[in-house]
Subunit: 670 residues, 2 copies
């Protein structure tokens, strides 16, 4: 790799940053991405995508109307899926997402859910006969499918979905029906215009008896004409905060009939005589959600890393304000406030990326076990992926928005890409399980664990072992540069334990005060969420330090160590409430925690550009005028603006129609 990305013609400030870095970007990039081979593949995939004419955009997509984006995405998704063999399709954590993001940018497309939900649901829910029939059709792109679960009035609590599938023994069919407006299927990606099939969860009704939610394969549109079939009303749900190129859709059934064999029958079955055979293992149904949440941790973090990269690079070339008159203006990266806005999220990017590896490993293990019918680690994966999903998506969203604000006015322009990154990422707080709901699920696990510990019957999962530890009476923390990370982790564990135990006690107290368990849970729910949040942040700190223990390059270890400590000090400082409880830390120690943060910011400052360079984003992947590798931002912004549809003519029709006559009349009065 060329030395730290420097090229002739680059902006002088950014070149100086790279020249003065204390370490090799190549080495850190190799460590981040898990080896030289992985990094080589990243570059190979980029080169391939750039070489394919049909994978390019005619103009930057942010200048397209919604319809133009939908068109452009449909064109590209066909070309992209024609070329899937170039990547390792089994690599759903790295090569797959990279390939897609290089082509589709931060948007969904006609087949997003086809690959992420439709095919996995077939694999998970179909019996052998169904698998043989549907899977080849889906994989060969003979149909486009989506997954239509959410309804207008029903999201998280899927047991209350209203759509019904009533078995009609006479015709051996199910009758799908939307009994009310709130039962309208709503939100599914690609449902509005692109898909001709959907997997639809609906209440299975047999002889008037509700057997609960089951999944059905439903044809929506005619294969040749693509017209909606009789009994189906379907359309686009209108514009959203992000993903303009996707036709998220609605779907209404009017007594729409499908064959009995279209109910997925791997776990439960309906026989032709209407006999219902219930599933044996209800747990096996977690599958798709857990899969998506696991993948989300890394994908979301890459969005944060992208935002941090843009903000750091731009802050290196942006100069504003003077410390000494007569000197050049200051690089805004030199402002402590700017560092404080961005660097804690730089640290989180690293910590979250390494946590993503843990989830991936666990996911692979669980997946291999599930194939053999073993469900041992499924709950652990479920808790971990739910918690990580909630904490990571929220921290990522906050971080991206801070990075955007740190870029001042230009962060508000779509040229920065930051508004798009934010819209794309923040949606993750809501989909695949609303974050508060996820946190409360983790809290259930934590409260159960404490209860078991208190009753001495605990057989603790590895990630909860620290809840057993004896508490130290006082923190050993003095000043940041003398502290070992093990000690900081102990401090953070203390914060977390405090929150978890005090929440448990609060719950108990509420119940003693005559609240029902449900009421008590609700009254304590803000604290419960905070307990889960800390638990997950703490877990990630631990997994980060065990990961960087694998690094053997001293120059890189130094950087990773600073980053990890910044993460921990910052996390501790913003959860101050628990760390000073029982005088665990003194005012003086807390002051030193904060001073530690400010000093580490200063230490990281000279390497900041090199650190973000190590994420190895190409200009294509970043798609940001502010975040360009070469730092030549201003000229590029002017070029970018020329694409504006308003600039196609010097004078808009608004002048002739409205503004011109108004001004002429106004001048005539004077």
């Amino acid at each position: 790799m060329r030395h730290n990305l420097i090229e002739p013609g680059d902006n002088e400030d950014i070149t100086n940053e790279r020249r003065n870095a204390s370490f090799s970007v190549g080495k850190l990039a190799v460590f981040i991405h898990g080896g030289e081979e992985k990094l080589r593949r990243r570059h190979e995939i980029l080169k391939f995508v750039e070489s394919q004419e049909d994978l390019q955009d005619p103009i930057p997509p942010e200048f397209m109307s919604r319809m133009e984006r939908v068109e452009n995405n449909a064109r590209k998704v066909v070309a992209m899926t024609d070329k899937l063999s170039f990547i390792d399709q089994a690599d759903i954590f790295e090569e797959g997402p990279l390939f897609q993001s290089l082509i589709m940018g931060r948007d969904f497309h006609a087949m997003s859910l086809h690959y992420v939900m439709f095919i996995p649901a077939i694999q998970g829910q179909a019996n052998d006969d169904q698998l043989d029939y549907w899977l080849p059709l889906a994989i060969n792109r003979g149909i486009i499918g989506t997954y239509a679960q959410t309804e207008l009035g029903h999201g998280t609590n899927i047991s209350k979905l209203e759509t019904t599938a009533t078995y009609d023994e006479k015709t051996d069919e199910f009758v799908l029906h939307t009994p009310s407006i709130s039962a309208t299927k709503w939100w599914s990606g690609g449902l509005g215009k692109s898909s001709n099939y959907a997997i639809v969860p609906a209440q299975l009704i047999i002889n008037g008896s509700n057997k609960g939610l089951h999944m059905f394969m439903v044809q929506l549109r005619h294969l040749d004409t693509h017209m909606p079939l009789p009994g189906i009303t379907i359309g686009d749900i209108g514009p959203k905060m992000g993903i303009p190129g996707n036709d998220n859709g609605f779907l209404i059934f009017n007594n729409y009939r499908i064959p009995r064999k279209n109910m997925f029958m791997r776990y439960s079955q309906v026989l032709s005589n209407g006999e219902y055979i219930a599933p044996k293992h209800s747990k096996l149904r977690y599958g798709t959600m857990v899969f998506v949440r696991s993948v989300m941790v890394r994908e979301q973090t890459m969005q944060l890393a992208a935002a941090v990269t843009i903000a750091v690079r731009y802050s290196a070339i942006r100069r504003q304000g003077e410390w000494k008159s007569g000197c050049k203006e200051v690089q805004i990266l030199d402002y402590r406030t700017q560092q404080y806005r961005i660097f804690p999220y730089l640290a989180q990017s690293f910590v979250f990326l390494f946590a993503a590896i843990e989830v991936k490993d666990l996911y692979m293990k669980v997946n291999a076990q599930l194939a053999k019918g073993i469900t041992e680690f499924l709950q652990e994966l479920h808790v971990l992926s739910s918690g990580l999903k909630a904490v990571v998506t929220w921290e990522v969203a906050k971080g991206i928005e801070q990075c955007r604000l740190a870029c001042g006015g230009h962060g508000f322009s779509l040229a920065s890409a930051l508004p798009e990154i934010y819209s794309f990422a923040v949606a993750g707080c809501t989909y695949e399980g609303e974050n508060i709901v996820m946190l409360l699920q983790v809290a259930r696990f934590l409260m159960k664990t404490v209860k078991e510990i208190r009753s001495s019957s605990a057989r603790l999962a590895a990630i909860a072992k620290y809840l057993l530890d004896d508490r130290k009476y006082k923190s050993n923390f003095r000043v940041w540069h003398m502290v070992k990370y093990e000690d900081l982790i102990e401090d953070f564990e203390q914060v977390t334990r405090n929150q978890i135990y005090s929440t448990f006690d609060y719950l108990q107290q509420l119940q003693k005060d005559n609240h029902s368990p449900e009421e008590a849970w609700n009254c304590a729910s803000v604290e419960l969420c905070q307990a889960s949040r800390l638990h997950i942040l703490c877990f990630m700190a631990k997994s980060y330090f065990s990961r960087i223990a694998l690094c053997s390059e001293p120059e890189i270890i130094r950087i990773l160590d600073l980053i990890g400590k910044l993460y921990l000090l910052h996390a501790i400082s913003i959860t101050h409430a628990n760390i000073v409880k029982d005088d665990y830390m003194s005012d003086e120690q807390m002051k030193n925690i904060k001073c530690g943060i400010y000093e580490i910011l200063g230490k990281l400052r000279p390497d900041a550009v090199a650190i973000v360079d190590s994420f190895d984003f190409s200009d294509r992947e970043l798609h940001s005028v502010l975040g360009r590798r070469d730092g030549n931002v201003y000229a590029a912004m002017l070029e970018w603006a020329k694409h504006s549809e308003l600039n196609k003519t010097e004078v808009l029709s608004t002048f002739e129609k409205y503004l011109g006559p108004m001004m002429k009349c106004g001048r005539s009065k004077i």
Copy 2:
């Protein structure tokens, strides 16, 4: 006023909420808006706007392309300004903004800066001759003007703007020039396509000597053809995160000549022989910025109030999850987590709205004084408006986004209006003075004050008096329902004093450790910002309680008291670091602060819908399907979606061109 907004046909849940409210919405609305007459005028203006055919949108603007929005806004702005006589144009704090928002929604238009910057700048900077010439032209809409200050490479530090205006004695002209790409004027509203004039701040150069920044009246386009004049390159800067209907523009001068008399000469002058006469009162230049920031406090808060209204109403009709099986699902407003997300911002809406009245009063006073050349309170207004602008815009942005997230998936849809409200409001963190810069200006004032106190030479402004107070050794706080608000304010003052004094000490320490004053200031800047933030939040708490002391209705006082206490407890709890310092509060007290928050949330719950109803938003002003008065959300969403351009045909061209052939080929392989 009809009883608490109930009408037949409304959603049953929302009607029940209104029926069960403990107070009269009409009374609280009157108090919020400052009297019955004000409220009557709000309704009168709404009715007028609704009655005018040319002020309506053909379709909801969120379904328009950018060009369509620009067109529609140009049409509406002419119609709107034709009818200005219907409102009290001098009322820039209430009637003006309301009228505009009812017509233009949350977007800017061709003449936004004409009214907010161009005309005020003429009034502030022109001498009498210039005033006589330019003001009638501008007021009669004979020209459209904007204000072109920001450059691609220069924002806050205006002294380093690069654009030059060089005096040419031979022709008695100034030569305007853009010496580099980074000097390109950038961002000004309406500059790209609409305006034919701009006021341009540029470095005044006479005989090679730079006299600093001065303002120039510059014609940009031909009055009849609207073509850019020779020497002017001008255009739209491309799409942004919000305000799609505005043509924010760029502007490049190529040795463009304007007459000498086009320099504004109220304070400084250039004579025809090139002699330069410097201004006497540099302070008088603050004018426009202070004006805009003062207006922003209320306008931004109204956006937060709108978001809170939408979130509360939607949470009342949205049901999800069960506490007891077999019962109806729970209104999500019943979840403590949901209340915790929304109600603290409900409280902030009230507190900020009342703070806006203070700024308004101060602004009016200063304005009246300035007319007589008195500048006594200008600095106080400057500090206060800067601080309020920074704190309010940031809290508002956070709050809106929390409200949006609290609406789950539907908050992501433009049907909710929340994405638009967020984009519109969050821009306020950046424009008219970047928030961090604003906070550091307030911090300068605070540090100067502490220094004066320490040297016993303090003559304190009213808003800084509390810095002198003797500190109590311990807080008296026990439990929230026994506390008087005066005590809570004392506690919050303690938090704030702690932060201000410890920051001052930190600054001193850094200087003792051999940092230069500039370095020390930079190292302490995160703490300095925090000091300013607390100072402003504390100021607002005090002004809130002095405002509600004017209320004489017991049923309203009860609500306002709960709201104020929630604001204070929440503010104290999230600034925990300072409140426990020196053992000012114990662990037990802190626990009770938090319990207090949770209990007040429960107390406010039954009145939440009635409280937001009291903001008196019409459906037109909210423009949100989720926030509709009648609560009939789901049917309205389905109706709304039908406007989607993707729904104009059942089958998009994407099927024939791309997806159809792909699927046909895929099926042929099986």
